[in-house]
């Protein structure tokens, strides 16, 4: 399979705030120096499929953070306020970094459409290259078509490829879950 790499240059130097953390502080640095990859997990506190993937994302976080993979839970929907997300993170024992994508900048940067959906970036020359965007695994083929368990772990394979410096395999199917709510002007 040929790797399909979309390049997105992130201008870290500008003053634009990408997102905020749960205390309302701007998130200015998705990838601290030395990071080898950034994973954005697009989540919605009220989306059941998204919630079902939380343990899997936490597993991947524990497994790959020591190798320099920085994982963010990103909440793009307008209803997911700091208060709602804080309660949700507590309820689901989420310990990973959390970003409120209140302007949907990260959503646009990643071209995410769905929760749950993941994007993987590689830091490069002061910017981030998106090398993967899509489903976490193949457990859900559509709403209503669900495997008892996943047979292919697309996101994990992508992360491993990045760490191994190999071409990154792309998702084998579309993300399944809840559409990200469009921001009203």
């Amino acid at each position: 399979m040929t790797a399909f790499i979309r390049v997105w240059l992130l201008a870290m130097a500008t003053a634009t705030t990408l997102a905020v953390d749960l205390d309302g502080r701007p998130v200015t640095q998705l990838a601290p120096p030395g990071s080898r990859a950034v994973v954005l997990f697009f989540a919605a506190s009220d989306c059941p499929v998204s919630n079902r993937y939380i343990p899997e994302i936490q597993r991947l976080t524990r497994q790959f953070e020591p190798s320099g993979v920085r994982v963010w839970f990103v909440y793009p929907n307008p209803g997911d306020s700091a208060k709602v997300v804080r309660a949700h993170d507590q309820e689901f024992s989420i310990t990973a970094r959390t970003a409120l994508d209140n302007k949907q900048s990260l959503t646009q940067m990643a071209h995410a459409t769905t929760t749950p959906e993941a994007a993987v970036f590689i830091p490069e020359r002061g910017g981030l290259h998106e090398v993967y965007r899509g489903r976490i695994d193949d457990r859900y083929l559509s709403l209503g078509a669900e495997r008892p368990q996943a047979t292919r772990h697309d996101l994990e394979e992508a992360i491993r490829a990045v760490l191994a410096g190999k071409p990154v395999p792309q998702p084998g199917g579309p993300p399944v879950g809840c559409s990200i709510v469009t921001l009203q002007p």
Binding site: I54, N77, L141, S142, L143, R147
Partner: protein, 733 residues
């Protein structure tokens, strides 16, 4: 790649829909208030309300707007509302299915920006109780030790045992199940374990629940087939049984709650409360759950995409099909069930083109489906054990056989049928259904003890003792020493009249299985019947020590004590029986008789009325009740009871004689004379009857007739003082 292709095709189809809608309905604006809210309230909010079984609420415009895109997607794919049967193959109540027009309306609403419209025009949102939907239950059962469902992993199937705690039998007209977290429960089935067999089989585990998708329970010794589907799914929290068809719980029964649980992403408490609503009225209709299956044929090669399993059952009686429950696990693909009528016409019962265990359900027909005797019910299931079946639990696929784990398979079709057009005087039609079911089962599994035993029992219950004995002996040849089969062999011998042989079989069963309660009970009853009351007493006392508390043991012991002349001790046992089961016939009848003997006719009448209600076809009970009424001075009530007894037992001269007396005391001389003559027709040599007939003739003014009657009495009994004195008192003719 195939799977992915399907997904994309499906998304395209959604787009197609939207295009069509745009072309056909240009002008009329679709708004929440006017079109969408009524549709959502009618079809979605029973689950999708705060605290409901759905994962989110759709009660308000803001809610619907949040989920609009999903609503368009999942209604177009018909994932929602959840409904598996194909429209037009069986007409089901509560069909939860949107019309194409409704689906198009949602698509258009979303496409055109999800307008609210005039808020005041929206119908009021339905209200849902946050406690019991059906009101305060008469009894609430709770899972004793909640189970913690892990945050992630495969679905979990778990069986919780809820013992029925009451000491009285109750009939249940409705049931509501309230899972602690309804969002994690796909569906739940409740089984009645009449003998607490599952709990006893898992003594260390039952409190926190036992894993497994299917289970078998011991139904006990009486023919007491399951009658009602007790099935919970998210949109049906309350099960209300049709009029006249409540189900029953006896002391010592367990309910087993079999829950299909879905991990949510965080650890969840899997627990539930079951609310029961009682009725005083016993069932007036007796439906039965009937099964087609062919698990033995399930041996599905890895990769097979079209593995077919079939079964067919010929109905021995007319029935109405009230409900249907198809069941397979993850490999099931297409399910068909139909009946071939005696005229060879095909009548569809159900078609599920794309099975999904997650959305399984019991389906009830809008109107009962009549199937005449001789109809053949067919099931035909297709399984897909290839990797193209996304539900396949094995990757790569492996050979799969029948079993109760979720990764095994099943091929079951349950029907709830109500026998109809039963000719008067024929045996319980459920026995004929049971016989047909078991013969069908034996065709598939000839050596299986369950159908052998059940077939023999069904034959015995129809009074076909010799046929039953053949099957029991065959079963024992295949399964030597089987406790229950031995016991039933003994019971059938007893019923066939060979009680000496029966007692030998019971004794052998007790010797082989000293803990048996069944054989002891039957031996005790046999002892009682054959004037061995002290032996019976001994068996009943052993049972009281080692068998579960049971009304029939107490009432049996009471009967033994009564036969031995210990009426006070007997009375105490009968009262203990009624404490456990207020409907125990033996206790009601005997206590009533004892009250009658101790000249408490009012109390006797109350008890004996209860006995008659339990066994309306017991002539003795009617006769005793008549005596109680007569002693209370309620002569016309006594007449009614005696007439009922005579209908059941027309050749009993005592009943005619008593009826004659009751009629005479209410001044109905001629009918009284007719009944006395009826008694004499049955026993012409009874001097008392002739004397009493003479009295009635005399009162009717027929002196000559009276004289002849008294003379006849004196001829039969020359020392009959009353006849002599009556004769002397007659005026000269």
């Amino acid at each position: 790649m195939n799977k992915v292709g399907r997904v994309w095709w499906w998304i395209l189809a959604v787009g197609l829909w939207a295009g069509e809608v745009a072309a056909t309905a240009q002008d009329s604006a679709v708004t929440w208030s006017h079109q969408i809210a009524p549709l959502v309230y009618n079809n979605c909010t029973t689950c999708h309300h705060p605290g409901g079984a759905g994962p989110f609420s759709l009660l308000t415009y803001e809610d619907a707007r949040r989920w609009g895109k999903q609503m368009a997607t999942v209604t177009a794919s018909r994932y929602m509302p959840p409904w598996l049967p194909e429209h037009g193959y069986g007409d089901f109540a509560d069909e939860r299915r949107l019309s194409n027009e409704e689906i198009a309306l949602i698509a258009k609403w979303v496409q055109t920006g999800m307008a609210e419209g005039e808020a005041s025009a929206a119908p009021p949102a339905p209200k849902y109780s946050d406690t019991w939907q059906y009101g305060t239950p008469d009894l609430v059962l709770k899972v004793e030790r909640p189970f913690t469902l892990p945050a992630s992993g495969t679905d979990v199937f778990r069986n919780f045992v809820l013992p029925y705690p009451l000491k009285q039998t109750h009939y249940i007209r409705a049931m509501e199940i309230r899972p602690a977290v309804p969002q994690i429960v796909h569906h739940a089935n409740i089984l009645i374990d009449r003998t607490a067999s599952f709990r006893r089989a898992h003594p260390a585990q039952w409190k926190e629940g036992v894993p497994g998708m299917e289970l078998e329970v011991d139904t006990g010794n009486d023919f007491d087939p399951d009658s009602n589907f007790l099935f919970w799914k998210p949109d049906t929290p309350v099960l209300v049984e049709p009029e006249g068809m409540p189900w029953r719980l006896d002391p010592g029964n367990d309910l087993i709650l079999n829950m299909h649980l879905k991990p949510s992403g965080k650890p969840e408490t899997a627990s539930a409360e079951i609310g029961l609503y009682f009725t005083d009225k016993p069932p007036s209709k007796q439906p039965m759950l009937l099964q087609l299956e062919h698990d033995a044929a399930l041996d599905i090669p890895a990769g097979d995409r079209d593995f077919v399993v079939e079964d067919a059952l010929r109905l021995p009686v007319d029935v109405e099909v009230l409900g249907i429950y198809p069941h397979a696990h993850y490999l099931g693909k297409r399910m068909e069930a139909w009946a071939t009528l005696p005229d060879q016409k095909k009548k569809w019962l159900i078609l599920i083109p794309s099975w999904d265990i997650d959305r399984q359900s019991v389906y009830r027909y809008r109107t009962p489906v009549f199937l005449p005797k001789g109809s053949v019910v067919h099931m035909r299931y297709t399984y897909d054990n290839s990797s193209a079946n996304e539900h396949n639990p094995h990757s790569p696929p492996v050979r799969v056989k029948a079993g109760n784990r979720s990764e095994d398979e099943m091929a079951h079709l349950w029907l709830q049928v109500l026998p109809v057009n039963v000719p008067p005087g024929s045996p319980d039609p459920r026995l004929l259904l049971q016989e047909a079911w078991m013969r069908n089962w034996l065709n598939k599994d000839p050596g299986d003890i369950i159908p052998l035993y059940n077939l023999a029992s069904a034959l015995a219950a129809q009074g076909k003792y010799q046929d039953a004995l053949v099957v029991y002996r065959h079963a024992l040849a295949l399964h030597p020493g089987d406790e229950r089969t031995l016991n039933e062999l003994g019971a059938t011998l007893e019923n066939s009249g060979d009680w000496q042989q029966a007692q030998k079989v019971f004794l052998q069963d007790i010797a082989d299985h000293p803990g048996t309660c069944n054989a002891r009970f039957n031996l005790a009853r046999s002892d009682l019947k054959h004037d061995q009351a002290s032996a019976a007493e001994q068996q009943f006392r052993t049972m009281l020590a080692q068998c579960p508390a049971d009304a029939t043991i107490h009432s049996g012991l009471g009967a033994a004590l009564d036969s031995e002349g210990h009426s006070d001790a007997a009375e105490a046992e009968f009262r203990a029986a009624l404490q456990i089961d207020a409907h125990d016939f033996t206790a009601l009848y005997n206590l009533g008789s004892l009250a009658l003997q101790s000249n408490q006719p009012q109390q006797a009448a109350d008890l004996l009325q209860g006995a008659v209600e339990q066994r309306p076809k017991d002539a003795d009970a009617h006769q005793e009740l008549a005596a109680a009424y007569a002693l209370s001075g309620r002569m016309s009530d006594a007449v009614v009871q005696l007439r009922a007894a005579i209908t059941l037992s027309p050749a009993n001269p005592d009943l005619h004689a008593q009826l004659s007396q009751a009629l005479a005391s209410t001044g109905q001389l001629e009918p009284a004379i007719a009944e006395r003559k009826a008694a004499l027709h049955l026993r012409a040599d009874d001097a008392d009857d002739w004397n009493n007939l003479g009295v009635l003739e005399a009162r009717a003014g027929r002196i000559g007739q009276a004289r002849e009657d008294f003379l006849r009495a004196l001829q039969l009994a020359p020392n009959h003082a009353q006849a002599r004195s009556n004769l002397q008192r007659l005026p000269p003719s």
